[in-house]
């Protein structure tokens, strides 16, 4: 079996047993990337030399019998909105940060290094994490490894595609309104958004500070658990990251194989209404039938504020926070500065006009409008009130069920260009994912089959705050019964 067909956990264990070296694992990953990148375009930058250096260090430690970390020798990719001070740029897929070298490492990047992971490169995203298809990248779109004329989803499309195409077994993404879960679903991999506050956002370039969260991509639930284990936990540099004292990080892998019994699953009627593609619905219902066979009880629940009202809420709250967070890109201290300008204000206006793409401009302007005098109460305050209602929907539901399930995305991967003409059509891709961020609960997408066209479908599982261990166990119960992770995307077959 090729090294790149191993899961991260298998790779890690094989490395510890010295079946092959970390250097060989790094070379295998870099070779896969070289072979597949011209078609998939998952990466914005690659650090082959850095990866080889890091892998050689791990090999030395393994040979000497020194302790190595959770991910020792495993190649990983990092979404390009997380700061890396290793010589690679951090661009957020924007022209405004073209070539920008971060002077510090994100907390999660430090954690990866501490656990012995070998970072091979930075992956593509929608600019500043704003989008659902990775088509908003200023550096070109990433392709879905299952169908190269289709989107990988977004905004973490590069990370999802890199894992799906077996270039790396693990990748980090970020999720503000579904940006890990939706691309995971469209690319047939596992993607998880932990509870808000579970993982430090220090060094994650901020989009919406009350919604952003970093999370893992892997081909299997165990791999996602492994990566989450490596990055979760306290960080005093992020005041919204909970302390280990308040919320200790459990051992996610230790309990993973233990089914949750009894298991009560809530199916929101709002997640199965109009707009849901029938092909996707069928695959999701087949997955739910597997849970029933395992003894789970399915019950209809209602989340009355958590689909269309949640989209409306999200596109006020997230854009408002973004208008504030992106005010720092002004051409003064770093990033693109427009060459011709008459005065300071003109410098800001031209730098931002020249550096930001359309979607970013739209969202900044929406947020600015929603927060402006005369509109603040009608838009921003109203949205925060509805956010409270959304949170209450989940609190009510979790009184009677252990988790909530449904399709992650209303459709399978759509064609490139299909939704770019109408921003609203694109926004509605997130109709099942945004409420999770607004309520700050945990959620993941696990592959649950393919449509008739051979496109992956994801099952979304949502659970209450700080219950990631149970969430992973619930996903694992299903995964154990199926073989979706064994299927390789056509692009991998064709190239070998």
């Amino acid at each position: 079996m090729a090294i790149t067909d191993l899961t991260a956990r298998e790779m890690r264990d094989a490395l510890r047993r010295r079946e092959f070296s970390a250097s060989e694992a790094a070379e295998a990953s870099l070779a896969a990337i070289a072979r597949l990148e011209p078609q998939v375009k998952a990466f914005l930058s690659l650090d082959g030399d850095g990866a080889r250096r890091r892998a050689a260090e791990i090999d030395k430690r393994l040979a000497a019998g020194d302790s190595v970390g959770l991910l020792a020798g495993v190649p990983v990719a990092v979404k390009d909105n997380m700061c890396t001070a290793d010589g690679q740029p951090t661009t957020c897929a924007s022209r405004i940060l073209q070539g920008w070298k971060a002077p510090y490492n994100a907390h999660v990047v430090e954690r990866l290094a501490a656990e012995g992971a070998v970072i091979v490169g930075k992956t593509n995203l929608d600019e500043f994490a704003m989008g659902s298809s990775t088509e908003n990248s200023a550096y070109g779109a990433t392709r879905n490894p299952w169908a190269l004329d289709r989107v990988p989803g977004g905004s973490s499309g590069g990370s999802a595609a890199a894992v799906a195409a077996r270039m790396v077994p693990l990748a980090l993404g970020s999720d503000t309104g579904g940006s890990i879960r939706q691309p995971a679903a469209l690319c047939g991999v596992v993607g998880m958004k932990p509870t808000y506050g579970r993982v430090s956002r220090y060094g994650l370039v901020a989009f919406a500070s009350s919604l952003d969260q970093i999370g893992p991509f892997g081909r299997t639930v165990a791999d996602a658990a492994l990566l989450l284990q490596a990055v979760a936990g306290e960080d005093t540099r992020d005041s919204t990251c909970v302390s280990d004292k308040d919320r200790p990080v459990p051992d996610y892998l230790a309990s993973l194989e233990e089914p949750v019994r009894p298991l009560r699953i809530g199916l929101p009627k709002e997640f199965f209404g109009k707009g849901l593609d029938p092909g996707v619905e069928k695959v999701v219902r087949d997955a739910l039938a597997v849970y029933e066979r395992l003894g789970a009880k399915l019950a209809e629940v209602s989340l009355p504020h958590s689909t269309e009202y949640a989209i409306a809420t999200y596109y006020i709250v997230a854009t408002s926070e973004a208008s504030s967070n992106l005010a720092r890109y002004d051409g003064v201290h770093y990033g693109y500065r427009s060459p011709d300008h008459s005065d300071m204000i003109d410098m800001y206006m031209r730098s931002r006009a020249g550096g930001f793409g359309d979607e970013v401009k739209r969202r900044i302007m929406l947020g600015t409008y929603a927060l402006s005098a005369g509109y603040y109460d009608a838009y921003y305050k109203k949205a925060l009130q509805v956010r409270r209602l959304i949170r209450r929907d989940f609190e009510e539901a979790f009184k009677t069920v252990d988790c909530i399930m449904g399709p992650t995305s209303p459709t399978a991967a759509f064609r490139m260009g299909e939704k770019t003409a109408d921003p609203l059509a694109m926004y509605l891709s997130d109709v099942f994912t945004v409420s999770c961020n607004l309520a700050a609960i945990a959620g993941l997408s696990v592959p649950c089959g393919f449509t008739g066209d051979g496109l992956p479908v994801g099952l979304q599982v949502l659970s209450d705050v700080f219950t990631e261990d149970r969430l992973l166990r619930i996903a694992r119960m299903y995964e154990r019964e199926v073989q979706w992770a064994a299927r390789r995307p056509p692009v991998c077959e064709a190239a070998s």
């Binding site: 920008w100 070298k101 002077p103 510090y104 808000y196 506050g197 009350s210 005093t236 005041s239 919204t240 909970v242 269309e308 009202y309 409306a312 809420t313 596109y315 006020i316 208008s323 005010a327 051409g331 003064v332 770093y334 990033g335 005065d343 300071m344 204000i345 003109d346 410098m347 800001y348 206006m349 031209r350 931002r352 006009a353 930001f356 401009k361 739209r362 900044i364 302007m365 929406l366 600015t368 409008y369 402006s372 305050k381 109203k382 949205a383 925060l384 009130q385 509805v386 956010r387 409270r388 209602l389 949170r391 109408d422 921003p423 609203l424 926004y427 607004l438 309520a439 700050a440 705050v465």
Partner: protein, 100 residues
């Protein structure tokens, strides 16, 4: 909720983003459409609902007031579009003859 072109221009100025004629046209249509959608929140009764700005019940997360090392001047200036000595160089902010 239809926005006028003047409103879009005003929002552009507040956002510090220079908009071309064509962009004003395009964004007026698109932003009006999006605002039309978010207007559906008016359907919801929220009179006694407290706003939820932050989902975690965190309050006053403080640390001891002890200095820690930060970026060096060199690191801070490393990405500067224009630097002059230890400073970021920017267009003049004050008028000629204004007192410091």
């Amino acid at each position: 909720m239809a926005l006028s072109k003047q409103e879009v221009l005003k929002v552009g100025t507040l956002s510090r983003i220079r908009l071309s004629e064509a962009e004003v046209e395009k964004f007026t249509t698109q932003l009006s459409s999006i605002l039309g959608y978010v207007d559906k929140l008016r359907e919801l009764q929220t009179r006694d609902v407290p706003p939820l700005a932050h989902a975690l019940p965190l309050q006053n997360v403080l640390r001891n007031d002890e200095p820690h090392p930060g970026l060096t001047t060199e690191q801070a200036l490393a990405g500067a579009p224009e630097a002059a000595g230890d400073f970021f160089r920017v267009p003049r902010v004050l008028d000629e003859g204004a007192s410091a």
